[in-house]
């Protein structure tokens, strides 16, 4: 195999395109979740798709295709048990083990046995992610015979998405805060720029180390389809240029959200909006409360260059328990909050979000009126990429977002996502003198499906498509 030219040492032509960009120009998308019906036919399909998959080294021309696998999917395709076992234990065990569900808050009504997909009733092997410039182009892409899944694959679920113009279903501008990645995105200050290896296997991460990934002996890769281990062992690197993809379908109870806030605001519209902003940490238009505590500000809609410690340490602007503050605490946590040391730790727990909304938009006013019959669900297909599921996604979800004890709080779980225990339903809004508390905050988000996927490098796709010997 000829050596490939790499820029900055990053082999972007071998990394699937979803890492480099969320395809914002391709506003139509659909996600096909499937199981392997016939392994040989599925491998033939994969060999075709590997040639069509979008890579990270250039912008897509009107359409994008990416494909990812669960650990059962890799096994069903014929990957050896020894190779599968070298993936991370979170991926191998899957999102739905009892221990994992406790960490993620998937308990009670959100437990996997109630899910539409990904749970024991409807396991998933493969996710095929399709993106196009508009709905017509998407329909054409979906119908493209080159992508035909049968007979190798059987579709379990087809998840459509909507273009809510950069907003999520509660009505807030979304996707403002994404990590800056060395060699990939525009560069920022050292303290907020992350190593490539935090999001792609086979490169140094924020500890300066290489995340464990499957390394195979020569006999397992006689045709040398896979890149070799960059650490010099000479082994075939199945994980290189791949990453883990976390997918969770989150249904959002938009009516419940606005009804609760309307009641807490005693039906005053601007107070209702202010309370909503307190829960989220940004105004619906995007301005962060920390920079603009009293009202929305269009000029700050994309503002992301701020910390909490200097100027909002006590949470009087952006509450300590607000969603964006706990999903990304920036410089506000120990040790030595407000200093680069705090950012150093923060950098080790970031995720790269690539989700898409689904369902129709519902304004707060409409949300307060009676629902139409047969109203469809709406919500977020939450998708994120990270090299270390346990230290990144699960840490953010379990230790920061879901925890009623985040940053020395007592009983405050994330107010958007909601408590997963019988306790945690308080939301405290710190104030200059006396704090205000909302109690018994209901859950506005429920989990309808999910799985941990591996998003392989393109050479790895070809390797997976080759028959096992």
């Amino acid at each position: 195999m000829a050596a490939r030219a790499v820029a900055n040492g990053l082999d972007l032509a071998d990394v699937q395109g979803l890492v480099a960009r969320g395809y914002p120009q391709l506003t139509a998308a659909t996600f096909l979740l499937a199981t392997v019906a016939d392994a040989a036919a599925a491998r033939l399909w994969l060999a075709r798709v590997a040639d069509l998959v979008t890579a990270s080294d250039r912008r897509p021309d009107g359409r994008a295709i990416n494909v990812a696998f669960t650990s059962t999917g890799l096994r069903r395709l014929g990957l050896s048990d020894g190779a599968v076992a070298q993936f991370s234990s979170e991926f191998v065990g899957g999102m739905t083990t009892a221990n994992r569900s406790r960490i993620l808050g998937d308990v009670g009504a959100d437990a996997p046995e109630h899910w539409d997909w990904g749970g024991p009733r409807a396991q998933v092997d493969i996710a095929l992610l399709l993106y196009a410039a508009d709905d017509h182009a998407l329909a054409r892409l979906r119908a493209d015979p080159a992508l035909a899944l049968a007979p190798g694959l059987r579709i379990v679920r087809e998840l459509g998405t909507s273009d809510l113009q950069g907003h999520e279903p509660f009505g807030f501008r979304d996707g403002i805060s994404q990590p800056l990645i060395e060699g990939l995105t525009k560069q920022g200050l050292r303290e907020t720029t992350l190593r490539f290896g935090e999001f792609v296997l086979g490169y140094p991460n924020e500890h300066g180390l290489f995340t464990d990934r499957p390394l195979l002996d020569d006999e397992a890769d006689p045709d040398r389809l896979l890149p070799r281990d960059p650490q010099g062992s000479g082994r075939a690197d199945l994980g290189r240029n791949g990453t883990y993809l976390v997918f969770r379908q989150l249904r959002q109870d938009v009516r419940g959200f606005w009804r609760f806030l309307d009641s807490a605001a005693r039906s005053r519209a601007d107070e209702r909006t202010r309370l909503a902003a307190k829960l989220v940490g940004r105004w619906p238009g995007g301005a962060p409360l920390t920079l603009s505590p009293d009202h929305d500000d269009a000029a700050l809609a994309q503002a992301n260059d701020f910390g909490y410690f200097h100027g909002d340490r006590a949470g009087t602007r952006c509450p300590i328990g607000a969603h964006i503050r706990r999903a990304n605490p920036r410089d506000s946590l120990d040790p030595r909050p407000g200093t680069p040391d705090s950012f150093a730790i923060n950098r080790r727990h970031r995720i790269l979000r690539r989700g898409r909304e689904y369902g129709t938009q519902l304004t707060p006013e409409k949300a307060l009126r009676e629902p139409l019959p047969d109203e469809e669900e709406r919500g977020l297909h939450f998708i994120c990429l990270n090299a270390n599921i346990s230290r990144q996604f699960e840490f953010v979800q379990g230790t920061w977002v879901n925890s009623p004890k985040f940053d020395a709080l007592y009983d405050d779980a994330d107010p958007l996502i909601g408590p997963s225990h019988p306790y945690g339903g308080t939301f405290t809004m710190q104030a200059e003198v006396v704090r205000r508390r909302l109690t018994d905050v209901p859950r506005f988000v429920s989990v309808r499906g999910g799985a941990y996927f591996f998003l392989p490098g393109i050479a790895a796709l070809r390797y997976l498509a080759a028959p096992p010997d």
Partner: protein
């Protein structure tokens, strides 16, 4: 209020009785004790208590090491008093548990026999950590209750208090506490440590550095030799990165995250040789000194989530047991340590067999993130039976509650009052 004591009891388990004991312990809890067989919370002033089974093993020279039944408790009464109370409260529960152990008197034993047996099994800890020396379990529970009452008051009177300044609100709260008899204790500051205890601690705090100062010439002479020997050992010691089997991790994780706090128990072989044993003993002595006199107010060199911890030797210093009680998940606990005090982990655990390779006792080691996390899981002991007196209080919550109570006492200036109200 005396300072917190630790009691560690280790009884050798008869080989043929080990599996039965394992089943018994598994029936007594799922990570949180269910109160069967014995009620770990029954004795007075127990912060935390646990029972674990340390498995039999082989030492690094091939000699067999027995299994141990280990009881550990953090309490506010002197350890011998706690032992007697445990025997009183547990009754024949002691027989059911320790009957699996070597030389246990035949059942049913008399209370004196039980107490004598346990006393003979007491192990002295090499080092301990207490989050806040002198803060008793009763104080913790009382102050939690105080906070709840004040928070309810603030919620109920939210509208009236809206717009009032900090001084007025503070006066309202003090008035509220004063008019409630059940909160009378809160008007006084928390009991301090007894004078005798403080004097003894002061003597210890001064005497040890003095001793070190006296021995300084010897220490300085010996230091280069130590460093050379250390590097020889560090380069020679095997440090294989072994991944724990997934079933092991799943079994351990099943016992975790049922409440806000978790216990952590681990056992490891001490590297062979006098050099390592001496180094470890010295390091533990130093740790005990700094946790007694420096890190005794809520902060262990940057980590604020640990309630109690202890280190003790077993098997004539061939194995060491470590136990702690901490807030949050194990992943966050491990990340906390790697991020904040990897050097602290290294100085102790790099003397343990299999720890990721360290340099100069403090470098590398735990900074190899995945190797360290795998090492911990491989050496972790399942803690089925664990009692916590705190319910849902983290260390930061507890310290904050103490701050709330303390703020009731004085009528401070404007800035301090605002700061005090922020705790609510």
């Amino acid at each position: 209020m005396p300072s917190q004591s630790a009691l560690t009891i280790a009884a050798e388990v008869r080989p043929e009785a080990t599996e039965d004991l394992r089943r018994l312990l598994a029936s007594m809890g799922d990570g949180v004790a269910n109160g069967s067989v014995i009620d770990l919370g029954a004795p007075e002033a127990v912060h935390f208590a646990r029972l674990v089974l340390v498995d039999a093993a082989t030492d690094l020279r091939g000699a067999p090491l027995p299994a141990w039944l280990v009881y550990m408790a953090d309490v506010d009464v002197p350890k011998q008093q706690h032992l007697v109370e445990l025997v009183d409260e547990a009754g024949d529960g002691i027989d059911r548990l320790f009957g699996h152990c070597v030389n246990y008197p035949s059942a049913p034993a008399t209370p004196e026999q039980r107490a004598d047996y346990l006393r003979a099994c007491v192990v002295k800890e090499q080092a301990r950590y207490v989050n806040w020396v002198g803060r008793g379990e009763r104080q913790i529970r009382d102050e939690a209750r105080l906070r709840e009452r004040i928070e309810a008051y603030l919620d109920e009177h939210a509208d009236e208090l809206d717009g009032r300044d900090a001084g007025e609100v503070a006066r309202e709260l003090r008035r509220f506490v004063e008019t409630d008899e059940s909160l009378a204790w809160a008007r006084r500051p928390a009991e301090g440590l007894p004078v005798g205890f403080r004097l003894r601690e002061l003597v210890h705090a001064v005497a040890i550095p003095l001793l070190v100062l006296l021995l300084l010439p010897l220490i300085l002479l010996g230091l280069p030799i130590f460093v050379v020997l250390l590097r020889v050992h560090e380069r020679r010691d095997p440090a294989p990165h072994v991944k724990p089997p997934p079933e092991l991790t799943e079994r351990l994780a099943a016992l975790e995250d049922h409440v806000v706090l978790n216990p952590f128990t681990a056992i490891g072989l001490v590297k062979t040789g006098l050099f390592r044993r001496l180094t470890l003993s010295t390091v533990l002595f130093a740790i005990d000194y700094v946790t007694r006199h420096v890190f005794n107010r809520g902060d262990l060199a940057g980590v604020k989530t640990i309630h109690f911890a202890r280190w003790a030797f077993l098997d004539g210093k061939r194995r060491m047991i470590f136990a702690s009680n901490y807030d949050g998940s194990l992943e966050s606990y491990m990340d906390d340590f790697i991020d904040k005090i990897a050097w602290g982990l290294n100085i102790v655990f790099s003397n343990g067999y299999g720890f990721p390779r360290a340099r100069f006792l403090i470098l590398d080691g735990a900074r190899d993130e995945l190797a360290f996390k795998d090492y911990l899981r491989l050496h972790q002991v399942p803690t089925h039976v664990w009692h916590s007196a705190y319910g849902r209080l983290t260390a930061l919550n507890i310290t904050n509650n103490a701050r709330i109570r303390a703020g009731l006492q004085r009528d401070a200036g404007e800035a301090d009052t605002v700061e005090w109200l922020r705790a609510l």
